[in-house]
């Protein structure tokens, strides 16, 4: 009797313990997108005088003057704002809270998410070939795009440039027309969640950002699922300040119109920058190997089964931002790699082997994986955007300044991609596992030539720009770049020369962006 009573007690205890476990809802401490409501340290009211990238002048695209705040139409709009504020829904409140964190950083997060989502190499088909994702048929397998590092760098750069140019234009018209915000016109309006900006409200900078970001991103990520997601985000950002009592309909509609018109200017460059020829065809790929072999060197080969064509081998011919193509080409081949047949090179191969065997410590593997940013992630340029985000947040930078700084960073990294891919295709140098098949790697071997290291080039370019923007941490950025660079040697996918010269090339590219930053009128 006693023993069965005990059993029941234990059964109850076990059940209770289980109930406690089940009650623990699974969650993450944070998902990394959390942003406080942005109250900028500096409003950057002079942003209309900053130098745009593609627009000739801030007001190249015309925007008609708004109606006066005393007009009957504006009064109707004020009433609409009050009604919207009175009927605010929980979803709208969530959207206000989300976008109040800062539109530039939000779109940057969205873009990094989409890159990670679409950064998957196409699978081999039944005939041993790798179908190329097709932007005209984006939903088919493989879904368009394959957002690999060059593709990602270009995406980040164009969206950042479009946002920056559009925000300069928006500020120029804000200062020209000086229309007050609803809460400045009507003291009975107190904005929900968002801060009371002292800036004029016509056109709405949020609507401008929403329009340019959406119009660009839907071209970069055209699958139905991605476009619908982007559309939802665009609509939220477009309207949230009306729901919050900080913008009227005409502020927003003017912003959207301006944004769309500016996108057409930037699209003209985008559609003719050479990207369409970056993949090439088999005859071209073969000629790359032949050229290197004729010099008595060993050409890169895909280590995949079936062999995969090199990733965007002609991306090196895409139009750069902060220099001309001839300048970039000259810059990108000034440090040749060691000869494949040299004794020094053999030593470098041996060093790689050492890193994946005796030196494959837990600490080193952590570094390899921290910086790997491979398939299924936001890529190295995305990683550096995430690093920049922390600094932009800490300084509470205005939307205008955040856009400018991300444009500097992302044009530098796209130039780094172009430069590095030019180098890679020019020297067409084998990966360590091709030179010594006994080298087993601690991260995936990228399917393109080794020399020079993309991570090193991206990272040095990014660290150079960030060091200019946030000088107190300049040496920290350089240390991070060196670690990112070394991580590729530790992972067994690059030789020391790839890393060291990659850093050198990246610094040269970063310097060009800094030179632009020094004369773009931003104080």
């Amino acid at each position: 009797m006693k023993s069965s009573f005990l059993s029941i007690k234990k059964l109850i205890a076990a059940t209770a313990a289980l109930a406690v476990i089940w009650a623990c809802e699974k969650s993450l401490e944070r998902d990394g997108t959390e942003l406080d409501t942005l109250v900028p340290t500096k409003v950057d009211a002079d942003a209309g005088t900053w130098k745009p990238y593609i627009l000739q002048t801030a007001t190249e695209v015309a925007l008609t003057a708004p109606e006066d705040v005393s007009s009957a139409n504006y009064q109707k709009e004020l009433q609409e704002v009050k009604t919207a504020m009175g009927n605010i829904s929980d979803d709208q409140r969530l959207a206000i809270r989300y976008w109040a964190g800062g539109g530039i950083l939000r779109w940057n997060q969205i873009m990094r998410s989409l890159v990670a989502k679409r950064n998957l190499p196409p699978a081999e088909n039944a005939t041993g070939e790798y179908p190329i994702p097709n932007s005209a048929n984006p939903n088919a397998d493989p879904i368009f795009p394959f957002a690999n590092p060059p593709y990602a760098s270009r995406s980040y750069a164009y969206v950042s440039v479009a946002q920056y140019d559009a925000l300069i234009a928006a500020m120029a018209y804000k200062q020209q027309y000086k229309r007050k915000a609803p809460y400045q016109v009507d003291a009975s309006i107190t904005p929900v969640i968002v801060s009371k900006s002292t800036l004029p409200s016509y056109p709405s900078e949020d609507a401008v950002m929403a329009a340019v970001s959406y119009e660009f991103l839907k071209r970069l990520f055209p699958s139905t699922e991605d476009t619908l997601f982007l559309y939802k985000k665009k609509e939220e950002q477009k309207w949230f300040k009306l729901w919050a009592g900080a913008s009227t309909r005409s502020d927003i509609e003017a912003g959207e119109k301006l944004g769309k018109a500016i996108v057409t200017k930037i699209l003209a460059r985008y559609s003719s920058d050479g990207m369409r020829n970056a993949i090439g065809v088999k005859a071209q790929w073969d000629s790359l190997s032949k050229r290197v072999e004729e010099k008595g060197e060993v050409a890169w080969k895909s280590l995949e089964d079936a062999p995969r064509p090199p990733m965007l081998p002609f991306f090196g011919n895409v139009k750069p931002w902060n220099m001309t193509n001839p300048e970039l080409q000259q810059l990108s081949i000034q440090y040749p790699p060691l000869s494949y047949n040299s004794a020094e090179f053999k030593k470098q191969v041996a060093e790689v082997k050492e890193y994946v065997t005796t030196k494959a410590t837990r600490e080193n593997i952590a570094i390899v994986h921290f910086w790997a940013d491979g398939a299924g992630t936001y890529t190295p340029p995305g990683h550096w955007n995430a690093i920049a985000e922390k600094y932009i947040v800490a300084e509470k930078q205005s939307e205008f300044r955040a856009a400018r700084n991300l444009a500097l960073l992302n044009t530098a990294m796209m130039d780094a991609a172009i430069s590095c891919w030019y180098t890679k295709t020019y020297y067409y140098f084998p990966r360590p596992s091709q030179a010594d098949p006994s080298i087993k790697t601690l991260t995936g071997v990228p399917n393109f030539p080794a020399y020079s290291s993309g991570h090193s080039t991206f990272s040095a370019a990014a660290a150079t720009v960030l060091g200019y923007l946030f000088p107190t941490d300049a040496s920290k950025f350089n240390d991070m770049a060196s670690e990112a660079s070394m991580s590729r040697l530790m992972g067994g996918i690059h030789y020391r020369m790839d890393c060291e010269y990659g850093l050198k090339y990246g610094k040269l590219v970063g310097d060009k962006a800094v030179a632009r930053g020094q004369q773009d009128g931003v104080k």
């Binding site: 990394g32 998410s113 493989p142 089964d305 994946v356 952590a366 398939a375």
Partner: protein
């Protein structure tokens, strides 16, 4: 694509490792008796389910996982046992460039208690958990050696003895898994996350086995079902992630014999085959192990013969074959 790694210990699968057996079956060690052993498991697959798509990957070839497991089971009383298990795991892929990994994995501890004996039916409850023994790399599937998750589990076991030394076992466990911190600060599972923390879904593990069980011989057919919560699949041509829904159905056989000439040293072999799955390899597993009983009682009964395993109260001193009569004598 990972798969059986999680079955080795994190999930305590029914048949993937012999050693897990004592954690999931109806057999107890008699009071003050200890059973310890060591075993070798070999698991291999060359095709896997990417989500629900069954595919090969020529850049992995065969993914082989070899495991050496130490295991022990001690009888605090005839109805209350404590068990542990600790595997050393080594992985490799026969094609492609990725480096295999090796190391000591997770320590599993469990308490097993016979709650009730209703005629020939044992009703058993077990609770336990597992802890990674070191900071091994988890986020390198399918070549990492484990999941780096801490787990706690509660398991119910029904053990029914039939005439002719046949027995039927059915068990079910709920396994709660802690979130895992990885080396990188972003990943994509069902969406992009900008953190190094990964949410690990809980697991339900169900199993059944039927066959002959006697002191000398064991021959049983096993069935096992693993269900991971959530619906995160490996994306098209992506690498597998830790949080994926790694479901599987596995069938297998267990055979064991105690060698009289070697002081009843038990030699045991298993084979297992995954027959259906999602985000796992279609793996074939075999294992071989040796187990020895040690009688730690101060006053050894039965002329020093170990009492060994017991199926139910009253099964003490049954060294040699357990007779049907002895079974019936249980209360």
């Amino acid at each position: 694509m990972k798969f059986r790694l999680l079955l080795v210990s994190s999930i305590l699968a029914f048949s993937s490792s012999l050693f897990a057996q004592n954690m999931t079956d109806g057999i107890f060690m008699a009071k003050n008796n200890f059973c310890g052993g060591i075993g070798y498991t070999h698991d291999t697959w060359n095709k896997y389910w990417e989500g629900t798509l069954f595919r090969e990957n020529k850049n992995l070839g065969n993914v082989n996982t070899q495991t050496i497991t130490a295991m022990g089971n001690y009888g605090i009383s005839d109805r209350f046992n404590v068990l542990f298990m600790l595997p050393y795991v080594k992985t490799e892929a026969t094609k492609g460039t990725l480096k295999g990994m090796s190391g000591v994995q997770d320590l599993t501890l469990a308490l097993k208690y016979r709650l009730a004996q209703i005629k020939n039916l044992s009703v058993i409850g077990s609770v336990g958990g597992s802890l990674p023994t070191n900071n091994y790399v988890a986020d390198f599937l399918p070549l990492s050696i484990g999941m780096q998750s801490k787990t706690v589990f509660a398991r119910g076991i029904l053990y029914y003895t039939l005439p002719h030394e046949l027995a039927l076992t059915a068990q079910g466990a709920y396994i709660h898994r802690s979130n895992v911190r990885v080396d990188r600060e972003m990943y994509f599972s069902d969406q992009a996350y900008f953190t190094n923390e990964m949410m690990m879904p809980d697991v339900v593990n169900l199993g059944a086995k039927f066959g002959h069980y006697s002191y000398r011989w064991q021959l049983e057919a096993t069935y096992e079902q693993n269900i991971v919560n959530g619906d995160i699949d490996i994306r098209r041509n992506d690498m597998p992630g830790l949080c994926a829904k790694m479901d599987l159905t596995r069938i297998g056989l267990v055979a064991a014999y105690r060698i009289p000439q070697l002081k009843d040293l038990q030699i045991m072999g298993t084979i297992g085959q995954v027959v259906a799955g999602r985000n796992v390899g279609k793996s074939t597993t075999f294992s071989i192990s040796i187990l020895q009983y040690i009688d730690l009682r101060k006053n050894k009964g039965g002329g020093g013969i170990p009492t060994g395993p017991i199926c139910r109260p009253g099964d003490t001193n049954h060294a040699g074959n357990m007779s049907t009569d002895e079974h019936k004598s249980g209360h």
